[in-house]
């Protein structure tokens, strides 16, 4: 369903991703772990279509579509979603208004009629309940003045509203308390089905107790140096990243 081949990307003269291969099939959840600065967020942003990175080699496709050829909005219309590591505050733009615009743009792109205002409100209230969000959330400006944890929850709330087929979660667990972690994971798991896929970036294997991955990858210095089942996450927790880094250095290139 989602496939990256030999992706090289960077900024100006710095190369960040140095040959990523990744294939995710429908119904799967993959996790990506890796030390700070290894390129996890860069990968996530490039999947979502962020400008400003030079993609020097490689391909990326989703359900047969060449994603590198699509703007961020088109990717969203196709069903790609990124939960940001650092969600952006947008003062003055009301959350409900924003979500309505987003939902209707996606519907429009898919040839569906717009959702009427009343139905939409009901719909998002239900989703807000699912994520246990405070009542005034929907009236506030996007992320403005939200606490770190609230911002993360807002990302998953948006995901629940947009129901993407391929979601990338960039450190959504960082900054969440243990109850919020459960609620958020529940929200994510609700979207799991045989037609959809998820890519979960995290530093903590704890999240993977709640969102159970099929495959775990370790990203190191712009390369996936190891992939395995969820035991790999437990092993990493015990032995740290230096262990994979060293191990991968001894592998034949």
């Amino acid at each position: 369903m989602f496939k990256i081949e030999n992706l090289h990307a960077g900024v100006e003269d710095k190369s960040i991703l140095k040959g990523i291969d990744l294939q995710i099939n429908a119904g799967e959840v993959h996790a990506v772990m890796g030390p700070n600065g290894s390129g996890k967020s860069t990968l996530a942003q490039i999947i979502a279509g962020r400008d400003g990175y030079d993609i020097t080699q490689g391909t990326m496709e989703f359900r047969g579509r060449d994603l590198l050829d699509c703007g961020p909005e088109e990717r969203a219309h196709l069903g790609v979603f990124l939960a940001f590591q650092y969600p952006v505050e947008i003062p003055g733009v009301n959350t409900t208004y924003f979500l309505k615009a987003a939902v209707n743009e996606v519907r429009k792109a898919r040839g569906l009629p717009e959702m009427d205002a009343v139905k939409f409100l009901q719909y998002i209230r239900e989703k807000a309940k699912l994520l246990d969000l405070p009542g005034d959330f929907l009236k506030r400006s996007i992320n403005t003045g939200f606490s770190g944890g609230e911002k993360k929850r807002n990302e998953i709330f948006q995901m629940a509203v947009l129901e993407p087929d391929f979601a990338v979660l960039d450190e959504t667990d960082s900054g969440l308390d243990i109850d919020a972690l459960k609620t958020v994971s529940h929200g994510v798991n609700q979207l799991r089905n045989a037609q959809r896929a998820q890519l979960v970036i995290t530093h903590y294997q704890r999240l993977l107790d709640y969102i159970v991955p099929d495959i775990v990858h370790v990203l190191h210095d712009g390369r996936i140096v190891r992939s395995g089942d969820r035991d790999l996450a437990l092993e990493l927790e015990k032995r740290g990243y230096s262990w994979v880094a060293e191990a991968s250095a001894t592998l034949p290139a």
């Binding site: 961020p72 909005e73 990717r75 979603f81 733009v93 924003f98 615009a101 743009e105």
Partner: protein, 437 residues
Amino acid sequence: MTDSVATLPHPNDLPFSAPAAEPEWLSSLRRSAWDRFERIGWPTLADEDWRFTNLNPLKQLSLTPSRKPASPVTREAVEARSLLKGIEAVRLIFVDGYFAPELSDRPEFDHGIHVASLGQALGNSNGSYRPYLTAPTRPELNAFAALNTAWFADGVAVSVPPRQTVSLPILAIFAAHGAAEGPTTNPRNFLRLQEGSSATFIEEHVSLNETPYLTNAVTECLVGEQASVEHLKIQDQSPATHHLATFHAWLERHSRLSSHSLALGARLARNDLRVKLEGEGAECVLNGLYLTDGQRLADHHMVVDHVAPRCQSHEYFNGILSDRSRGVFHGRILVQQEAQKTDAKQTSKSLLLSDEAVVNTKPQLEIYADDVKCTHGATIGQMDEEAIFYLRARGIPLPVAQQIIQLAFAEEIVERIQERAVRQRLADVVQERLKIT
């Protein structure tokens, strides 16, 4: 006398302000204002307060006060230009600077509330407006306010007795025709709110055709103890026109003023705002939005003078600039020695939609008291790339995302307008103006 003013007519030579037509005190007021105007002359770029705003194009016009319109204008024609069409208000309509009673509502307020044409009030009253027009503040008049005093024909006079509330917004529409030679209209408004009273006054400046003229407006506002006033100035003149405006307010103890400026039109628009916080605990909010395109210029120049202790002043100015247009924001906060516990805040933000648009900002804090809180901040920049990406990543197409960001930026200002129907209408207008084309 400087050369450039030599060709302008003296007030004694104008039909409506000839000494025979008005009381002697007014004639003498006009003469001294004229003398002052002659003495100061046109500001030039060398003048610190006019560094970024070049008035040379004005000098091409042979300025002279506009004459009464030769042919009648209908209320429909005026309202067609008004952004507040249909909003509930008491409307006083002025055409080319002259009161048009046949187009205006006949305000009938009880309890001694007085809302009328200033020209009429000066003509037929017992001189009760005299003390305010001749207040000791005159020496502060800039060249244009002085010229206005010399030349003004009419405007709105509002007087609200103690503890009275004017139930409807007072809307003065200044509609003008341009002409090849560039006539000048000189609206002059005067508001006096006595102790504990409140009112909303809106001045709207619009054009009836697309030819040049100059508006040179002055609004003065005395806000008595615990009185509160909301003042709104909507400037939506044609791009062929120039607009100069001075707003002076004096605030007594625990009074409140919020003054909003919406600069949407004119080739060049300059707003001088002067607020004096004279009584303890007074509060003022100066709030402004400008949208410029083409080669237009919008300039807000303000001086907030904290004289008394425990006063608050907040200024918020946002501008959205495209093409080669320019914005100027000059905010001076003066905190005098007596003005302890002053809380003064100033922010100016501009959004540049083109590489060629320019904004000049100049915050200026002058503080002579030691226990004060004063902050200022200015941001000038392009639209936030991160925010645009965030919206696009949720499926919102680029042009819509840009429009959402611009609108939010403008809304920040519009939402401070307290008068609800007016606020909602102006929010719609701004949305329309920022529409993607």
